[in-house]
């Protein structure tokens, strides 16, 4: 008979909820993200004590305080830099970065691109509400052009970043997008991010009802969702539309077109079949934000745009250390202190 050890006791989402009062505004999209995270953690196969949340500064970054795991609420934009040190020092830990669009794409931009390039095995969540919320509503690097905010009363004059494009450009190994109001989808993406070995970049559209309400409603409201959102599934055709009647194809010249495949008699298997291992396709998907056809915008892709594993930083680091250790052997402290050349004074 096996005795019941602590290991055997199954944790529930409650076990991941800290004793701190959650202080986001009512209706904030961050609640849903917190809930989905707490929902998946009991069964992602990571011992609770090995979970570490590192966040920057912003409404989003308060997340850390609400998870009953190890966590550090750090400084604005630097979560990825801190997480890099955590991972390099202890590769065993499951590290989750929580950041906002300002935190990651403005002040923390340098750390974002380099962590994606170096490919640590951590998860990088950006809560994108297209606004600086904690500082009460200035435009952010993902705010749409012409946006009127406190700091841009006459409209912003900058083009925004396109996060998946930025991530792919930085050689991210895993690029995904999900949204606060689709719990199941978010859980799926978070699980995939967790399972993926390498930096898993997850852009989460998050509604800020106070400073940028409704920024993503077209992707969540019944009337528009099916026309505007495209949910990617590996090996499945790109299909959307009120009655799933529309599909997307890639022409020979690598342009994309929307077809009414049912009317046009195109077999679904002849549409663009999603392949998350294809970087060219992933890049095209990232461009849908700005693509239109006869005045109709392309739908916004959600799901895993790209996922191809490649060597992760901390493993390369450890294997280099092991190889050199095997070849040279550890040097004794006395040997290090004496160096190669010594002399004796009697």
């Amino acid at each position: 008979m096996e005795s019941v050890t602590e290991q055997n006791i199954k944790l529930t989402s409650k076990d991941f909820s800290s004793d701190q009062e959650v202080k986001w505004c009512p209706g904030c999209g961050d609640y849903s993200i917190l809930k989905q995270a707490q929902t998946i953690f009991p069964d992602i196969n990571v011992p609770k004590e090995n979970l570490v949340f590192i966040s920057g500064i912003g409404c989003s970054s308060r997340f850390t305080y609400y998870m009953d795991t190890f966590g550090m609420h750090s400084i604005h934009g630097r979560a990825a830099a801190i997480a890099s040190g955590v991972k390099a020092a202890n590769p065993e830990l499951s590290v989750w970065i929580v950041s906002g669009d300002g935190d990651s794409f403005s002040i923390g931009g340098n750390h974002l691109i380099h962590s994606l390039r170096k490919n640590f095995n951590f998860n990088y969540l950006v809560f994108n509400n297209q606004i600086y919320s904690l500082t009460k509503g200035q435009y952010s690097p993902t705010s749409e052009k012409s946006k009127i905010t406190k700091s841009t009363p006459y409209g912003s004059i900058e083009d925004p970043f396109n996060p998946p494009e930025l991530a792919l450009g930085a050689n991210a190994a895993f690029v995904s997008r999900t949204i606060d109001r689709d719990p199941k989808h978010m859980q799926m993406v978070l699980r995939r991010a967790n399972d993926f070995k390498g930096t898993s970049f997850v852009e989460i559209y998050q509604n800020c009802p106070v400073f940028n309400d409704g920024a993503f409603f077209i992707f969540t409201e019944k009337e528009t969702k099916k026309e505007e959102a495209l949910f990617l599934e590996q090996g499945k055709p790109l299909i959307f539309g009120q009655n799933d009647e529309k599909g997307i194809m890639i022409t020979d010249s690598f342009t994309c077109k929307i077809v009414n495949y049912k009317e046009e008699g195109i077999a679904p298997e002849n549409l663009w079949i999603h392949d998350e291992k294809n970087k060219t396709k992933a890049f095209l998907l990232s461009q849908f934000v700005n693509m239109e056809q006869n005045g109709e915008m392309f739908p916004r892709p959600f799901g895993i745009l790209y996922a191809v594993e490649r060597p992760v930083y901390e493993e390369s680091l450890i294997s280099q250390i092991n190889a050199i250790q095997a070849k040279k052997g550890k040097m004794t402290l006395d040997r290090i202190l004496s160096g190669d050349k010594t002399w004796v004074i009697a």
Binding site: Q20, I75, A81, G85, W343, I345
Partner: protein, 624 residues
């Protein structure tokens, strides 16, 4: 030759000297640093005490032959104790006209010049901006010196004519000819340098052969031509018995960190972004992969310190290295580390500032930045090393304090001691004090809660690392409630926490040595109070002044925050206090503010260390 030997009047062969300063000076591409270092190594191995001063331009290759491109290496070696690289030189090797122009002012009257004739042709004289028609080697302007004009380039060429090497490679070997000359002149063997060449060029035997041949040629040239009438001998110094090695400050810093990591039994992590003159610490530590040392070249200095904070958070001995401009970038994260109360060693190898300033020159101008350069009330520990080998002791102490007191510690070094070298009677691993580490593995609250900010008698909080079962908790940059560490905006709590953080740092004074005079008595008319790299110069000056009858003493600070407990009391034992610094009076401000004494400052901000004479004259002036 500090005794003032004049070579012009000296014709005896193999004369014994107490100490000599040689300055190797040439174009950046002439290999003067390597030549100087080889000469130094041999002198050290033969038991001379010594001190070196590499002095190079910030441009990697400034235009050839110009004054801007002159690279110098100064070595002061002797049979007595040596604490400085010397105020002026006895021997100047000038590979070209620009080198002579830059360094002649510091050659002692009657000193020896070894000039490479081919570096003094019309073109080189022009590049060095000598006036049209000037010819210093032949126009009598050097009559007060002993000038040896040697066509080093030509001799090197002749020697390597059959070597099969290209003109460029042959030209590059000429520094070995110089080294051969100097070895003959000071009666030193070639074997150490030959060994060095053989191992350095193990994969390029033809280059090794050429270098050795040129080295021998230089040596033999003296033997056969009798160009030098004098040959000198500098006997081994009477240093304390023991085993010695030669070491630079940056190297000592690197191995001090390794030693601390071994004695704390913690893995060593360095997060760093390259910057002169700190990069050599990153380079050196990167060689110790076999010992599990992790060096992380980050995307910028902010990521350098942040990655170190991450590594400290998970239980490593974490370090970040930089110089002034990088230090500025690290300030916000240093504040986070202060708030988190985690161990972290922040190394600032100071250079001339502000901004890019004088990247390759030395200064002590970041002291107040180290003390105060964070927002909010954010005290941390500040230590400073006094000499190249002392970097080992002080960085070791920095690690000990960081770990045992859960605090960031700023370790200050500077370009002068970072690149300078001296013989070091290194300790054995066993003799190093153990560093106590304890991770909290079970709840510390009376009711089984985890209290990450509950303090011990030193006011130190526990180190709780991720991976410890049942110890999950959150920390962060927001003000925390006493003991629980939960976010708190309560105003009384904030004041309490600000006071606790400050008191914790002040309490460290109970765990560091008291201040005492390094030279002189605990009572005197004048105290010279220094900190950091001015140690050797002040010590030499004060010793000489005492010998000359001045009532003066020297105290040198390694612990700047907190100060040693008895410092205030001790300062009151002197009628006057003089504080020489390579800045505009930063320690001076701290001392005056804290102890309200009328200390006088003496500042030098030329990117150069003080000379002994400057300090001595100031002592005399203060006591007249």
């Amino acid at each position: 030759m500090n005794s003032g030997v004049d070579f012009t009047e000296n014709a005896s062969v193999s004369e014994e000297l107490e100490s000599v300063v040689v300055r190797f000076s040439g174009d950046s591409g002439d290999g003067m640093q390597l030549t100087g270092m080889q000469f130094t190594d041999t002198a050290a191995l033969l038991g001379n005490d010594l001190s070196t001063f590499p002095d190079y331009p910030s441009e990697i290759r400034a235009p050839i032959g110009t004054v801007a491109g002159v690279s110098g290496f100064q070595v002061h070696f002797g049979s007595k104790e040596i604490y400085t690289p010397g105020d002026s030189f006895d021997v100047l090797v000038a590979m070209n006209a620009a080198a002579l122009k830059v360094d002649l002012p510091k050659l002692k009257r009657g000193g020896i010049i070894i000039a490479n004739i081919s570096g003094f042709d019309r073109k080189n004289l022009g590049l060095a901006k000598y006036p049209e028609g000037a010819d210093p080697l032949n126009d009598g302007s050097l009559d007060n010196y002993v000038v040896h004009k040697i066509d080093i380039s030509k001799h090197t060429k002749d020697c390597l004519i059959d070597s099969g090497l290209g003109t460029k490679e042959i030209e590059r070997s000429k520094n070995m000819f110089v080294l051969g000359l100097l070895f003959w002149m000071f009666d030193k063997p070639l074997e150490h340098t030959i060994e060095f060449i053989e191992s350095k060029f193990a994969k390029k035997p033809e280059i090794a052969k050429a270098n050795i041949k040129t080295l021998n040629a230089g040596y033999n040239y003296c033997e056969s031509t009798e160009i030098f009438i004098n040959r000198f001998k500098v006997s081994p110094a009477k240093l304390p018995a023991g085993v010695y090695r030669n070491i630079t400050g940056n190297h000592a810093t690197a191995i001090g960190l390794i030693a601390a990591s071994e004695k704390a039994e913690l893995p060593l992590f360095l997060g760093s972004y390259p910057i002169t003159p700190a990069s050599d610490i990153l380079h050196e530590l990167s060689k110790y992969k076999a010992n599990g040392v992790k060096t992380y070249q980050a995307e910028d200095e902010i990521a350098g310190i942040c990655s170190a904070i991450g590594a400290a958070y998970v239980g490593n001995l974490a370090v970040t290295t930089t110089s002034g401009p990088g230090m500025a970038l690290k300030t916000e994260a240093a504040g986070l580390a202060t708030m988190l109360e985690i161990p972290l060693v922040i190394i600032n190898v100071q250079r001339g500032g502000p901004s890019t300033g004088l990247p390759t020159k030395t200064e002590q101008s970041d002291l107040l930045m180290a003390m105060h350069g964070r927002h909010g009330e954010s005290p941390l520990v500040v230590l400073a090393a006094t000499s190249p080998s002392d970097c080992f002791n002080v960085v070791y102490e920095a690690c000990r304090i960081a770990i045992e007191h859960m605090t960031p510690v700023i370790f200050l070094s500077d370009g002068y001691i970072a690149n300078g070298s001296e013989p070091w009677r290194f300790p054995s691993g066993d003799s190093l004090q153990k560093i106590k580490v304890s991770f909290l593995k079970s709840p510390n609250g009376d009711n089984g809660e985890i209290l990450p900010y509950k303090r011990d008698e030193k006011l130190v909080r526990p180190w709780i690392i991720p991976g410890s079962k049942g110890m999950e908790h959150r920390i962060g940059g927001l003000e925390k409630e006493n003991e629980t560490g939960n976010v708190s905006y309560n105003h009384h709590n904030h004041e309490l926490m600000v006071n606790l953080r400050a008191e914790k740092i002040n309490k460290i004074a109970d765990y560091i040595p008291l201040a005492k005079p390094d030279t002189g008595n605990e009572k005197a008319k004048l105290l010279v109070l220094g900190w950091g790299s001015t140690y050797g110069t002040i010590k030499t000056a004060v010793r000489e002044a005492i010998k000359e009858g001045y009532d003066v003493a020297h105290i040198h600070l390694k612990y700047i925050n907190p100060f040693p407990k008895n410092l205030g009391e001790l300062l009151n034992c002197y009628d006057k206090v003089l504080i020489p610094e390579m800045n505009k009076g930063q320690l001076l401000q701290l001392i005056r503010a804290k102890y309200m004494i009328d200390a006088k400052g003496f500042s030098k901000v030329q990117g150069l260390p003080f000379t002994t004479i400057e300090i001595k004259e100031k002592i005399a002036e203060m006591l007249s």
